[in-house]
């Protein structure tokens, strides 16, 4: 009984399978070129301007600036950068800090080398940077973040004690990118300028260590 039932099913199945290809070939439409569903959207060319470019970077930073002979204080600043290629970028910085007292002023009591107004230090510089060691940093198993170790050299001016002084700056930094458009930076700079506040001209090295937050746009 069961065998018989199976056989009927098998035969009917086979016959349907044999019949269908011929049925399909008969139904072949004559107008083969016409798609059944016409797309309503025209194909669009790729327009370069619609691709968001992220070559500019702006941000803020803060840290410690040590003025030679005048102690260290908090520095804050803004920066803007333009990435020319994956290797090179141009960067502009503007920062401000305040000079403390020289050891001489502290020891001698009431002597003041500079009036309070002239103790503000502001600087700007334009640097060229080189992404020397780009790479990836790993956090646990799951996450990888892009990073850069870069070196910088630049020129600018420092306004301190009422005068502007030509300033060369050199430094390096580490950039950590949690996403494509956000970065954290650690920067170390040496600002070199001539200073004549204590009489004779002398070349001073003023070290700055900052942490920054920048966004790409």
């Amino acid at each position: 009984m069961e065998n018989w039932f199976k056989r009927v099913l098998l035969i009917s199945g086979l016959s349907v399978a044999a019949a269908t290809p011929s049925a399909w070939s008969q139904e072949q439409p004559s107008e083969t070129d016409e798609p059944i569903i016409k797309p309503e959207v025209e194909p669009r060319p790729v327009t370069e301007d619609l691709i968001d470019t992220e070559n500019f970077e702006i941000g803020i930073y803060g840290g410690i600036y040590s003025i030679e002979d005048f102690g260290s204080d908090v520095v804050i600043g803004v920066k803007a950068a333009y990435h020319m290629s994956e290797d090179l970028f141009l960067e502009a910085n503007y920062g401000m800090t305040e000079a403390g007292e020289t050891s001489f002023e502290t020891l001698s009591g009431n002597v003041q080398l500079l009036p309070d107004d002239d103790r503000d230090l502001t600087y700007y510089n334009l640097s060229i940077g080189y992404n020397f060691l780009p790479g990836e940093a790993f956090f646990g198993r799951e996450y990888a973040f892009n990073t850069n170790f870069y070196v910088l050299a630049g020129l600018g001016a420092t306004e301190f004690a009422g005068d502007d002084r030509l300033t060369a700056s050199f430094g390096w930094g580490y950039q950590f990118l949690p996403t494509d458009w956000l970065s954290f930076r650690l920067d170390m700079r040496d600002h070199i300028f001539d200073n004549d506040i204590l009489g004779a001209d002398k070349t001073t090295h003023n070290l700055e260590f900052t942490t920054g937050l920048t966004i790409f746009f």
Partner: protein, 260 residues
């Protein structure tokens, strides 16, 4: 006071972190970004396209998009394009590889960054220069707009850092390049401006003064790569003083510029 400042910085830091984490999860532009960019697609026609984990030549290739696969072009950083494949993998492809793909109309995807040899397509340029102004150092920032391949207008701001004074100079000038097609292209410049002269604080108090200036000069542009050039120039300034005699000053500068 300072403690509260640090607390605020910390709050901002974590706020930004959480925003960026959300942005990674969502598709397309995040909620606070008003310019919703249309996602564009291109089809791979080469046997494969290498997708890297970062926008640089050394980042590892973690995925390849095969021939006939469609990839979405998300954003661009320098010469690298961030793409998303149908499988949802996101990574970076070099511009040269994207230029080998086809868009929906069947055309090759093209990027039109100005190059030094198509001098008709460049409009804006900007640069920084440094040098000497009458034996003092000078730093200059300028922006220029090119009307024709030969003629452009520039505005610039200079700071002269001398031993006895510092001078701020703002200039407008016209630049003429007789041979813009040359890789080393000479130019002539003529302009006018204002000079603000501030004597040094350590000197006996002399009054600050403003003077009008005119200048003429010449220089060379040397195209280093497609969009960057070195610029060296000489300028002769005439400072119209309120006294009987005008002052003259020579300036030499060299710098780096980029055009857009």
């Amino acid at each position: 006071m300072r403690n509260s400042l640090f607390a605020w910085c910390g709050l901002v830091f974590f706020g930004v972190c959480s925003i960026s984490a959300n942005a990674e999860e969502s598709e397309g532009a995040p909620w606070y970004w008003p310019f919703y960019d249309e996602i564009q697609q291109a089809q791979v026609v080469e046997p494969y396209v290498e997708i890297r984990s970062g926008p640089g030549r050394g980042f590892p290739v973690f995925y390849v998009a095969e021939k006939d696969e469609w990839i979405e072009l998300l954003k661009r950083k320098t010469d690298w394009i961030k793409v998303r494949t149908v499988q949802g993998e996101e990574g970076w492809v070099h511009r040269n590889d994207i230029e080998k793909t086809l868009d929906a109309t069947g055309e090759a995807v093209a990027f039109s960054d100005p190059r030094f040899d198509d001098f008709n397509s460049r409009d804006w340029e900007a640069g920084v220069l440094t040098g000497s102004f009458e034996n003092a150092s000078v730093n200059t920032l300028y922006v220029g707009y090119q009307f024709t391949p030969n003629l452009s207008a520039e505005i610039s701001s200079s700071q002269v850092l001398g031993d006895f004074s510092q001078i701020w100079i703002a200039n407008i000038n016209l630049v003429h390049q007789p041979f813009p097609q040359w890789r080393v292209s000479p130019f002539f410049t003529l302009g006018t401006g204002m000079a603000y002269i501030k004597p040094k604080a350590t000197l006996v108090q002399v009054e600050d003064r403003d003077e009008d200036t005119t200048h003429y000069g010449f220089g060379l542009r040397y195209y280093l790569t497609d969009r960057y050039f070195l610029r060296a120039e000489y300028r002769e300034y005439v400072v119209m003083t309120t006294r009987d005699d005008n002052e003259e000053a020579e300036e030499w500068k060299i710098g780096l510029s980029v055009f857009f």
